[in-house]
């Protein structure tokens, strides 16, 4: 903030200074992602510096990006949503039964799970707003409710497989697109929901109100923001985005019992890597998306280096802490 008001003396350094000020405003997640992605390209040139490889990377990273957008909105509000992981379990397991191995059931199934997404978000929002249960506990309870309900409904084991037209959103490509070769459906889904989220969050009063509530509930209440309504809507958006992400994850990974476990923490981690601070008042759709991309790129990088999965977790943990520590230290310096 203060750096941009400092005007340098001479003309040439003025331009440089303004460029430098602009560079400094870029959130660190973008250069970090770029560096990691270029490193990936250096290690495996054919995979990460070719169009099909980049498209494949985007296909893997897109589901978490969609989920992270939803989680980001709740975080910006100053809350948590721990139920997104269970929602993904719910989507995959319940769909495995509802589809009944018949492709014709795909559309009704998606409508049904989306409907449940709205209900889950609505209940989360109502419990937090009207029963005043902190969102951490409300969504923790909801996580157990949804997971228990989904597992109980399918009887503890997947009932059948996911049909091809259902998995297309996560798995398939549109072939022979000029310039790009083949484009994954997942990327298109991500772009569509990014646009929706961008308009909601950055171009409407609603988005401003979310940030205002996250910054100071009392003040926004006094200035006429309908806190309860905004909160309920935000939880619904988060759950619906989690349902969409769940459909994409189910498409890539297929049916298994552990799908969705820990996704809530990964989504929060993605937001945090994207520079969104817990506690509310800050948020940006693109930062959340690139946070998710960065995490996926790190996982790919560690895999390429031959690190076993457990150590990948450990490095991820280290990176999450460092990302937040870095953000904390720089914001302290500004103060």
């Amino acid at each position: 903030m203060t750096t941009s008001t400092l005007t340098p003396q001479t003309g040439s350094s003025n331009i440089l200074g303004s460029i430098w000020a602009w560079i400094k405003k870029v959130p660190p997640v973008y250069p970090v992602f770029l560096i990691i992605f270029i490193t990936l390209g250096i290690i495996n040139h054919s995979k990460y510096q070719s169009m099909p490889g980049i498209m494949a990377f985007l296909r893997t990273a897109a589901p978490m990006a969609v989920i992270a957008i939803g989680e980001m909105m709740v975080l910006a509000l100053g809350g948590f949503d721990l139920s997104v992981g269970a929602i993904i379990t719910f989507v995959v397991l319940v769909s495995s039964k509802l589809l009944a191995n018949d492709p014709a059931n795909a559309f009704p199934d998606i409508m049904i799970v989306l409907g449940f997404g709205v209900i889950i978000g609505l209940v989360n929002g109502l419990v937090v707003s009207y029963l005043k249960v902190p969102s951490f506990i409300a969504t923790l309870g909801m996580m157990m409710l949804v997971r228990g309900g989904a597992l109980g409904y399918v009887g503890g084991a997947p009932q059948g497989y996911l049909t091809d037209n259902w998995t297309a959103f996560g798995r398939s490509y549109i072939e022979k697109v000029p310039l790009f070769g083949r484009v994954p459906y997942a990327l298109i889904v991500l772009i569509v929901f990014t646009i929706i989220a961008y308009f909601l969050f950055h171009r409407t009063h609603y988005g401003k109100q979310v940030l205002a509530i996250g910054d100071n509930v009392r003040a926004s209440q006094l200035s006429g923001v309908r806190v309860k309504l905004v909160r309920v809507i935000t939880f619904i958006i988060c759950s619906v985005f989690a349902i969409i992400g769940g459909i994409m994850i189910g498409g890539v990974g297929g049916v298994n019992m552990t799908v969705g476990t820990g996704v809530e923490m990964q989504a929060i981690a993605a937001c945090v890597v994207g520079g969104i601070l817990l506690g509310g008042g800050k948020g940006n759709v693109f930062n959340a998306i690139f946070g998710a991309f960065t995490l996926q790129a790190i996982i790919d990088l560690l895999n390429l280096m031959g690190l076993p999965k457990p150590y990948t977790d450990a490095v991820q943990g280290l990176l999450i802490i460092s990302a937040v520590a870095y953000a904390g230290i720089t914001s302290m310096r500004k103060r």
Partner: protein, 331 residues
């Protein structure tokens, strides 16, 4: 207090001076409803068999021990998500170092408590000195610990000697040792919180860190100590679990969901997530509610999925029963 008139109200005054956390009313309600359901739909053992009553407490020991530590950090307006993997690393390391031999027990205990202290110290330092949000910090450390143990140890490494299993299964007269240990830890936690300077400082830090700092409390040090104690309780719970299992496995902690469950029981017990308010006795009530539910569901033969579902609903309802009347907006 001031409303009590002098004459004939001595008894009432005494009753009023004992603050029973409201969670115990919920506990009694859950117990009565569960017992009645058991009476109607199953063999009615909950009301008639005292062994079941004891079993309710024994089931709660591991969670109870961790929840004491979790209560301390939550009162300090922090949180600890790394307890589950602290339990796992304890279970694995203890059984790895012991290798089934009695002579190795002391050094194994020393090693795991050192590890616990290190985890707590690292958590505390990152949170206070690097100003990392405690949720993220402990999520990160739990990922790191999980990576290390899953990468290094396979399932069931080593074993604990027969004598060490006394901790998990032994009895002192009619009462299981594990219950006595839980009671000791709870009393210790209560003493720390309400009878020591550290306790009042912790409430101060949790209530308003800046005010506490300006009134001369070394806020960072208080929070670091709270985190070390919390990790130590996780270590103790891990030792208890490994003594029951006979051999340590990396999934012990996450399988029991000790991280989120200990937070849930603490909050059900009336400790505010925002810090500065709450106590150990409430947490014990919350833990016992989980124990009663577990036993009731087992008695009724409820499927594990329905059990998870009902547990989730009960967490929300229990917490809502106190927060309902609050005027403050929560996040």
């Amino acid at each position: 207090m001031t409303t009590a008139t002098a004459s004939g109200n001595g008894f009432r005054r005494i009753v009023r001076s004992i603050h029973i956390p409201p969670v115990y009313y919920i506990l009694i309600l859950v117990f009565l409803v569960g017992g009645l359901l058991d009476q109607i739909f199953a063999d009615g053992q909950i009301f008639s068999n005292p062994a079941i009553m004891l079993n309710i407490v024994v089931r709660s020991v591991a969670l109870g021990i961790v929840a004491v530590g979790q209560t301390l950090v939550i009162i300090g307006a922090s949180i600890d998500l790394s307890v589950a993997y602290a339990i796992s690393i304890t279970a694995v390391m203890a059984s790895y170092v012991m290798q089934g031999k009695d002579v190795n027990v002391p050094q194994a205990i020393l090693v795991v408590f050192l590890i616990g202290a290190a985890i707590g110290l690292v958590n505390g330092l990152i949170i206070t000195k690097l100003h990392v949000n405690p949720f993220i910090c402990t999520l990160g450390t739990s990922l790191i610990i999980s990576g290390i143990i899953n990468g290094t140890f396979s399932n069931y490494t080593g074993s604990v000697p027969q004598n060490f299993q006394y901790f998990g299964y032994g009895t002192l007269g009619p009462i299981p040792v594990s219950i006595l240990i839980l009671l000791l830890i709870v009393l210790g936690g209560w003493f720390l919180l309400s009878r020591t300077k550290f306790g009042s400082h912790l409430y101060g830090v949790g209530g308003n860190s800046e005010v506490a700092r300006l009134s001369g409390v070394r806020t960072d040090r208080v929070l670091i100590i709270a985190h070390i104690i919390c990790s130590m309780t996780a270590v103790l719970a891990g030792l208890f679990l490994v003594s029951q299992m006979g051999s340590g496995a990396p999934w012990v902690g996450p399988n029991g969901v000790y991280d989120l469950n200990s937070i849930a029981t603490t909050v059900i017990g009336g400790t505010a997530l925002s810090g500065g308010k709450g106590g150990i006795w409430g947490t014990l009530g919350g833990v016992l509610i989980f124990g009663v539910l577990d036993t009731v569901f087992n008695q009724l033969g409820v499927s594990p999925y329905l059990k998870t579902l009902l547990q989730g609903a009960i967490i929300i309802v229990a917490v809502a029963s106190y927060t309902l009347r609050s005027k403050k907006e929560v996040a």
